[in-house]
Symmetry: C2
């Protein structure tokens, strides 16, 4: 695999950006035009990717295939690659669960599967993304080597298939669900004409518990009164015909800390452990 | 109401801090010892509050009563004040829904009710909090005047009862649910041993959609693929015996934007409007 031929499925926004970083680093990267849109073709051309007609041709010509597609399509796409008898390295780089990556690995008889995930914006001259890779043996490190010196920072996570996906699920569920929370909050504030006040409060900045998890002990101690507050918020959303699921879901999380009421001394690992179903 | 006597129910962490700012500003503030804990009594004393024996005595002696208590207790507490025949100004400052504040206002026959909410930490010499107030007539402004020059910044929101509570619901549901999201994410990452990577990503900082809602148009355009990603995250949480409600709730929000797929031109007001049930 000293000069591996790379196949990319598919050149969406993220896929094309990652492919462009590979071609910029001197690699030959192919994409498969069968069934793709003119917009995809345009992105592929701009990224310097070589066009092949169909999937069979792509898999026959590739040592490494990188799968970057919408999560709902990931398993189907992997199955179609497996059906061609692909025997190289398949990088499952999508936002899917560790269990699904294990399923996907089981689809292949000849290929070696590496679990991966991309965190960050589509990489470009001005923006870097991280590609986390985990998998058995030296495959993850080999894939990481393809990106050396590029705007894709490849990071190998030791421990086998599933770890890169778990990281993506942990990070993405925070980040994307937080954007859903913000949307519902602004929709509610707009309904009552208090959007400017909400924005002013937001711009004061608030505690970010993802980057300062040590504060979660204080959250657990207060959760007994935050659960009812979230239920009040859910009722407010419902009354405004807005989705009430997010505050109800937060209340369900807070109720797992009922036994930690007003105890500000519990260590973070125990606080997190109490979230597991008992 | 030039030198009003103030009653405070109850001196919890937030109540005692707000009461302390009032006594520091020269006001006389009473609290009601009946049924409260020694910890509450200690906080009340430190805040310079006058002790009275029971609720009837407190309401008889007070021109203004400020209710600051856990949200689950707010309506019951208001009802017990109403039953005394209290005829002054009742400030419902708790984290409850606008509908509940309207219910509470309906409990009183003689009192004037002002809707309020506190956002920020318990106020002190080093920390300010905002007390938003909304209500009919000049009452909200009168209550705001009590806090002039203190570490409680009182802000009157024109438009009547419900607006201050709606603001608290919009802000609190973001902020507190985001802490629940962070907790579940760290618990998941810990389960897979990738907590350090999650923390490193968190510390890079990510888009904050509450303080930059203009980015929500891009969220709506991507929501068609983020909903399945949230379902993958939910499956990952469930497999780890962690609560899966938050990512499922985010998926439900994202599905309300199905019709906005890949349309990056929709204006923010329309994006928010699409969240309302149609």
């Amino acid at each position: 695999m000293s000069v591996p031929a790379i196949g990319l499925l598919h050149p969406g926004r993220m896929g094309a950006a990652v492919g462009h970083r590979l071609t910029a680093a001197g690699h030959r990267v192919s994409w498969c035009a069968d069934g793709r849109s003119p917009a995809t073709a345009a992105r592929a051309e701009e990224a310097g990717l070589d066009r092949v007609a169909d999937l069979a041709e792509l898999t026959a010509a590739s040592d490494v295939i990188i799968s970057l597609c919408p999560p709902a399509a990931a398993e189907r796409l992997a199955a179609s690659v497996a059906e061609t008898g692909f025997g190289g390295t398949f990088v499952e780089a999508n936002a899917v669960s560790p269990a699904r990556v294990r399923n996907i690995a089981g689809l292949f008889t000849a290929a070696r599967v590496v679990d991966g995930c991309v965190i960050g914006p589509p990489p470009s001259d001005g923006a870097t993304a991280r590609l986390y890779l985990s998998g058995p043996g030296p495959e993850a490190a080999r894939v990481a080597g393809l990106f050396a010196g590029s705007a894709v920072e490849a990071i190998v996570v030791d421990g086998g298939i599933g770890l890169a996906s778990a990281l993506k699920m942990a990070y993405g569920s925070y980040n994307k669900a937080a954007s859903a929370l913000a949307a519902v909050s602004h929709a509610l504030a707009g309904t009552y004409g208090v959007g400017d006040h909400l924005l002013a409060e937001a711009r004061r900045g608030a505690a970010d518990h993802l980057s300062a998890p040590e504060r979660l002990s204080g959250v657990a101690a207060r959760a007994w009164r935050w659960a009812p507050e979230m239920e009040e918020a859910a009722a407010t959303m419902a009354e405004a015909n807005l989705p009430d699921e997010l505050p109800l879901a937060a209340a369900a999380v807070f109720r797992r800390w009922d036994d930690d009421r007003d105890d500000f001394t519990i260590a973070l690992p125990d606080v997190l452990d109490h979230l597991h179903e008992r």
